[in-house]
């Protein structure tokens, strides 16, 4: 088991490197750049913008920029000192080859995601400051998804073919089909604008004393968590329904009935455990999906989480910030799948990790 986990962690390294290369390239080839996005002032000349880009190193070819981001080492043609290098003695000029290598410091390989271009704060600190809001929303959504998805799936299977089952299935198809941004806007319009029951967005009411109020927090959570959990509940309902229907067809359930077990023991001991097996495989990705999927919902509901941060960084082309978020989400995804696999081995005795 331990060896398996270690191996999985080692396997994650090339995966993450690949993701970083792909992500970096995609952002760089996207139209517009940070300098253009932040210098709208018409009095700024094209030369000034170019100078700005040169100082940031954004005039360099993409591979060189990638290596800089990854290792913190910059490469420039000729005998020049990189503007971003903190100390002049960390540069070395290779005269015979005609280029200069400078150590800017930082870089992913040195466990440093760098600084946000927009705020000049460390990327990691910015991510960390948004985590509580994201995890709060994510945890509530996850609880809602399992709280409603599992029982609804069970009910649907239990009353298969009946009006109840048809109703649940219809709702679950609708839940998966309706886009969350649309649902979010409709909910805001109905419950906040028309009825005025719930706040339009944000994580708490802004007041002078900023006192913590649980009721206030919950009121802010209701709409975004509802909208965000909709697709998950729908998905899980369908999954559980299919699983239960499959399990009750199995021979071992006939054996259990032939033993004279009551329906409680039959359903909890024999059906539930077998039907839950595939849930272990979706739990890890579900955790990740909830946090990743919050990007749109956080933006609509002005939720101060990582999703919204990522969204605005992307609009601004704040490269280090976007890359930081991408790397964090990727690591989380890999971790999520690993947790799933371990969980699966724990519940299903037939599976041994090696």
């Amino acid at each position: 088991m331990t060896r398996y986990i270690i191996r999985r962690f080692l396997q994650a390294i090339p995966t993450l490197l690949g993701i970083s290369l792909l992500g970096f390239t995609l952002i760089k080839v996207a139209p517009g750049d940070y300098v253009l996005m932040t210098t709208f002032d018409p009095s700024i000349t094209a030369e000034a913008r170019d100078e700005f880009r040169r100082q940031l190193g954004h005039d360099q070819p993409i591979p060189i920029q990638y290596v800089e981001w990854l290792t913190g080492v910059s490469l420039r043609g000729g005998d020049v000192v990189d503007a971003m290098v903190p100390m002049s003695n960390s540069c070395h000029y290779f005269g015979s080859l005609g280029f200069t290598l400078c150590d800017r410091g930082g870089g992913l390989l040195r466990w440093d995601l760098g600084y946000s271009l927009a705020t000049k704060e460390p990327v990691w600190d910015m991510l960390r400051s948004r985590m509580p809001a994201s995890f709060e929303l994510g945890a509530v959504v996850l609880v809602l998804v399992f709280l409603f998805g599992v029982p609804l799936g069970f009910l649907s299977a239990l009353f298969r073919g009946s009006a109840k089952d048809q109703g649940i299935r219809l709702l679950s198809v609708a839940g998966q089909a309706v886009p969350s941004f649309w649902m979010g806007l409709i909910c805001i319009f109905v419950f906040s604008v028309l009825l005025g029951w719930l706040p339009v967005g944000g994580r708490m009411t802004i007041s002078l004393d900023m006192k913590f109020s649980l009721v206030d927090r919950i009121r802010h959570l209701i709409l975004p968590s509802f909208v965000l959990s909709l697709a998950g509940v729908a998905f899980l309902t369908k999954l559980v329904r299919t699983q239960v229907l499959e399990v009750i067809e199995q021979d071992y359930l006939r054996t259990a009935r032939a033993k004279g077990l009551g329906s409680l023991a039959l359903w909890t001991r024999h059906v539930l455990r077998n039907a839950m097996l595939p849930l272990a495989t979706v739990l890890g990705p579900a955790i990740v999906g909830v946090i990743n999927g919050a990007l749109v919902i956080e933006t609509i509901f002005a939720w101060p989480g990582m999703g919204r941060l990522t969204w605005f960084s992307a609009l601004q082309r704040d490269y280090p910030m976007i890359m930081g978020a991408v790397m964090f989400y990727s690591a989380l995804t890999i971790l999520g799948y690993l947790i799933s696999d371990i969980l699966y081995a724990v519940i299903d005795p037939r599976i041994r990790l090696q």
């Binding site: 054996t255 033993k259 023991a265 455990r273 037939r350």
Partner: protein, 339 residues
């Protein structure tokens, strides 16, 4: 004369499917005495399994439904029992073991748990008592180092060992009747013999009655006292083992016996298969169900389904033809074939 343990009258089970009504069991009647082994033989789809599962109402409903019949077990009518009361009989006084031991055990529960759950349920044992009893049972069915295997999962056992576990589960509450639904079909021949010996030995030790379902007449010969032959949901012949093998009365039974190889036959004859396929159970049976495949069919067979009638002592058969005529025809046919 031993006491009748189980008395089945006019049992009729149908499945109401999208394609129509499947007439799985069409009014069968038989009885099982205490401590007796009765074999039910027939091809796949002849209603053997549905027939016995109907006894303790294990038919999935819908689509299945027991439409008619009476099952009296130890003086008690099972068809009128509430589900709750029937549960106290299932697994307790009537136990069942199934065909495929690879799929009939729950893969995520230890075999210990699967045995102890019926002990806790029916015998009101606590955890320690039931575990001890489970070890005893595994020992009884010949699983080596039983105590250490209690916490193993089904996938850690071979097919034959799993069937032993199934048998241990079946025997756990000392049932009066054990229904074995083709328990050896999925196993190797050598393992089959072991399982048959085991069940037969346990029957003698524990004094329970057995209904043994099989499509293998060879298996029947060794262990059963009486044989019931089923075809298309009907009992078409019922007799003691010796009578059935020596003097089969129904052309179908005759056909079955002619299609099995025998070691004790002096001259080796060609095996004779029964032509054709079993009938579609979706059709309402109005004539003799075997008529389309029968070599000895007469006009009457197509008009009316023959009732099961006594043809000799302890011997029932459902055929319009007289067995002596059939034998004459058969001999003539064989002579002609040889000439």
């Amino acid at each position: 004369m031993s006491k009748t343990l189980l008395n089945v009258r006019d049992l009729e089970t149908k499945f109401f499917t999208q394609d129509g009504v499947v007439h799985a069991v069409n009014g069968i009647s038989y009885h099982v005495d205490e401590g007796e082994t009765v074999a039910i033989v027939g091809e796949s789809g002849s209603g053997k399994s549905v027939g016995v599962m109907s006894l303790i109402r294990l038919i999935a409903s819908p689509p299945g439904k027991i439409v008619n019949g009476s099952v009296v077990f130890d003086g008690q009518e099972l068809m009128d029992l509430a589900e709750e009361d029937l549960r106290h009989i299932r697994g307790n006084r009537i136990a069942m073991i199934f065909q495929d031991p690879m799929t009939s055990l729950n893969p995520v529960l230890t075999i210990g748990r699967q045995i102890t759950e019926s002990l806790e349920l029916h015998m009101s044992m606590n955890r320690n008592q039931s575990r001890e009893r489970a070890i005893e049972l595994l020992d009884l069915v010949g699983i080596p180092a039983a105590a250490s295997r209690l916490d193993d999962y089904p996938h850690q056992f071979s097919g034959g060992m799993r069937q032993r576990v199934m048998i241990a589960m079946g025997l756990s509450c000392n049932p009066q009747l054990l229904i074995a639904d083709e328990p050896t079909t999925a196993l190797d021949v050598t393992i089959q013999a072991q399982i048959i010996d085991l069940v037969d030995r346990l029957r003698k030790e524990l004094g329970m009655a057995i209904i043994w379902i099989t499509h293998d007449l060879g298996v029947v010969a060794g262990m059963a006292e009486r044989v019931i032959v089923m075809y298309a949901g009907f009992i078409i012949e019922a007799a003691t083992v010796n009578d059935l093998y020596a003097q089969p009365h129904h052309p179908y039974t005759l056909g079955l016996l002619r299609s099995i190889p025998r070691l004790d036959e002096a001259h080796k004859e060609r095996l004779v298969p029964i032509d054709g396929l079993p009938p579609d159970l979706l059709d309402e049976p109005s004539h003799c169900p075997f008529a389309p495949r029968c070599e000895f069919v007469i006009e009457k067979c197509w008009q009316e389904n023959p009732p099961l009638e006594t043809v000799a002592d302890d011997h029932l058969s459902a055929c319009w033809r007289d067995i002596s005529e059939i034998r004459l025809e058969l001999d003539a046919g064989l002579a002609g074939g040889a000439a």
